[in-house]
């Protein structure tokens, strides 16, 4: 049949693919890639250049995306679980990063902000920061799980107070870590041309993947998020599971804080990880996960996070004024979110059906 090619591809296969949640962020990623390819193919060029220390490192827009998107992608892991289990979001992660980073610096530098040597090993500082972040996560989680406070309201407390607490931990000083090896986490390890944050992010993805594969975390979290009453009657403890997701997010916060602080070897309490909570929530939403909780796709959230970073880098590449950046971002986000909304999806499905029907009719004729 000569007109066979104009017909849509196998309808059922198409339907199967489009029903997959991950298609939404992937399509967005593809769209951005195609846009850049048309606009300026050199956007994708990657080159090996020496950095200020004389080490050979990879550089280019793509490297910048996978580097700078790391913190966001790591946070998206925890945010996805929190969203799925509690049907709400933690808006305090930015402030929590400030606290966690501050704790890390406090342990590393001790009371003297200008200490020449490390007062404690980096691993100790990191572990202490993990514990503190998890404790704050547990605080948020307890408010949500046991006191049944709406997640956004519960985490508003830490959102408001967090950066002041962070500042208070170091007596409002800005300690600087002189030890060079501390800067590896946010930059490059000598001899490895790949940015360390990306390596850390990959390690986090693998750990999350293994946890989801080798534990019942996914099933329990989704079950609690979808139907708490049923979950309880099936022997689950919904409060504990919700609490657990907030604690896991706390751990993600500590890792993100390590990268953030390491990038500049110090901290600025009021701007570190500013607005990152909104991007993390957006990553979850872009991944096609319902913000009201329930079923989730971790991979889709991670891709969602990189879509956001891709978008930011694209806008920078277009030399959009930094002050105007959020406005441009907002426009694109509106488009993406509207495109992936249930209302539009339904409409598209109807249109697709008609199209197929017409196609079939044409074929018959």
């Amino acid at each position: 049949m000569p007109n066979k090619k104009v017909l849509p591809p196998n309808a059922s296969a198409l339907a199967r693919i489009t029903r997959h949640q991950i298609i939404i962020p992937l399509a967005a990623l593809l769209l951005l890639a195609v846009f850049n390819l048309i606009n300026d193919p050199s956007f994708f060029s990657i080159s090996l250049k020496p950095n200020s220390n004389g080490d050979q490192i990879l550089s280019g827009n793509i490297i910048s995306i996978i580097d700078n998107g790391s913190e966001l992608a790591i946070l998206a892991l925890g945010m996805t679980l929190v969203t799925a289990a509690s049907g709400g979001q933690d808006i305090s992660v930015g402030a929590a990063i400030a606290i966690s980073g501050s704790v890390m610096l406090r342990v590393l530098c001790g009371a003297d902000a200008r200490a020449e040597t490390l007062q404690a090993p980096i691993i100790v500082a990191f572990l202490v920061a993990c514990l503190v972040s998890m404790a704050f996560g547990a605080f948020n989680g307890a408010l949500v799980a046991f006191f049944k406070i709406q997640p956004m309201v519960a985490t508003l407390i830490l959102f408001t107070a967090g950066r002041n607490i962070a500042s208070w931990i170091n007596n409002s000083q800005l300690p600087i870590v002189k030890e060079e090896s501390f800067s590896y986490f946010g930059n490059y390890i000598p001899g490895i041309p790949i940015p360390t944050p990306f390596i850390i992010a990959i390690v986090c993805f693998i750990i999350m993947f293994l946890v989801l594969k080798f534990t019942n975390l996914g099933l329990y979290v989704q079950s609690v998020g979808i139907n708490e009453k049923t979950s309880r009657l099936n022997g689950l403890n919904p409060e504990l599971i919700k609490l657990m997701t907030y604690v896991i997010l706390g751990l993600c916060v500590a890792v993100a804080a390590l990268i953030k602080v390491s990038r500049i070897s110090t901290i600025n309490y009021s701007v570190v990880a500013k607005d990152i909570e909104m991007d993390a929530i957006l990553a979850v939403a872009l991944g096609g996960n319902a913000l009201s909780g329930g079923k989730f796709s971790m991979a889709a959230s991670v891709i969602g996070a990189y879509v956001i970073q891709f978008l930011t880098t694209t806008l920078y590449a277009l030399e959009v004024n930094a002050a105007a950046l959020p406005a441009y971002k907002a426009v694109v986000v509106i488009l993406l979110v509207v495109m992936s909304s249930p209302a539009v999806k339904e409409k598209l499905a109807v249109v697709g059906k008609k199209f197929r029907k017409n196609g079939a009719a044409a074929e018959k004729a």
Binding site: A15, R19, K213, F214, T215, N216, L217, L219, Y220, Q222, S223, I226, N227, K229, T230, S231, R232, L233, N234, G235, L236, N237, G294, K295
Partner: protein, 509 residues
Amino acid sequence: MRDKAILEMRGIYKSFPGVKALQNVDFTLCKGEIHALMGENGAGKSTLIKVLTGVHIKDEGNIFIRTESGEEQEVQIHSPQEAQENGISTVYQEISLCPNLSVAENIYIGRGDSAFISWRKMNKRADELLKSLGIDVKATQQLASCSIAVQQMVAIARAVDMDCRVLILDEPTSSLDDSEVKKLFGLMRQLKDRGVGIIFVTHFLDQVYEVCDKITVLRDGTLVGEYEIENLPRLQLVSKMLGKDLDDMADIKEEAPVFEDKGAAPVYEGEGLCSSEGIKPFDFYIRPGEVNGFTGLLGSGRSECVRTIFGADKVTGGKVKMDGKEVRITKPREAMDNGIAYLPEDRKRDGIVGDLSVKDNIILALQVKTGFFKPFSKAKATEFANEYIKLLDIKTASVNTPIKSLSGGNQQKVILARWLLTNPKYLILDEPTRGIDIGTKTDIQKLVLKLASEGMSVTFISSETDEMLRTCSRLLVMRDRRLVGELTGDQLTQSAVMNTIAGGDKNAE
């Protein structure tokens, strides 16, 4: 369109991914008739209703209505609002009113002609409306304080006041007791006399024959036929719904099953059990292989008893022994660890995890029992799911289909599969046959007897006494949240049960 028809649906098609829910279905409703829509679960009743009310949009077919001026008109219904504008109103099984508002507010909410409300006028109008319909409730009363039956009637009153010409009642009687059903039927007849066409969806055959004029039967998404009630005897109706003869029903013993007490120690023994839900402390035991049941009117505390046994409500007292050993059961997890399984009464609220797949729903309870660190592999989970899909004949497109897209009876089977997979010693079934079709009901009854013959203890609760008499060898009778009697052997007759429930029998305390 026929002369007296006020609604006609012609050649309706509707399909969902993997399911052809309706295929070339016709349906005609005349003025002033009560028309039963019958069929097994998955026959397409709900889908047809939803197409008519704009919840789903039909793929193909035409819907005609007769306007008030008497003209025929084809209508496109894309939303419940449009259905309402065309005079089609629905009262669902689950009341969809606002419980925290007053009766009058519920009748008039969202229909204000102006931005200003005269509360006095509204209440007066509501009172008149309720009085004219013979509904015994005050307009100012908060809806939540009314019984379910009254709430339902308020919903009907609302529909009537909106000049509905087609009223759809979707399983309205499933949570009503007999006297409430009588009242509802009175109201239905009254509306019929006013010329309203009523579509009545129910699983209760008695009720169909009591109140309906016509029956339309659907099966597997297709139309079986439309019948005048007097031309379709009960047995024929059932065989048309099932599409087969009723030999299957005959398999179930008509006489009460006898349980041979071999003197084995009870599997479960509770003493002075009580919970936060206000039931009087009660004693209870069940032996291996025994099937017993709690009976009583709705609200008598049947469900609360089994919920206490399973630890589903807050347990406030009592001693529990399993196999003679004292154990502590205050929450579901402890009950599960002791080999108890509980299929809850409210499938939608307490049973299914709607968005999860059939597979995940089946393995859920066992995965909780095995613990956090022991998930099944995908292959293993699929194997379990397929095993029970086959065993219980669950109709689903695949193991990965979300459970919410299954019909009610099949959802119930999935939950049953979930608990059977945990290999319980003691299975509690609270209204497992509620709102599901005869075929599945019979399947479940047979399954209960089979499990018991294999040594499992089962407690069975059903609103239908004959169903309980067919399956249970011992009945515990509840009245006003208190255990008032126990019936075994020869006492297991309809009249004895009724007497005990009513309190006129020697068996009652």
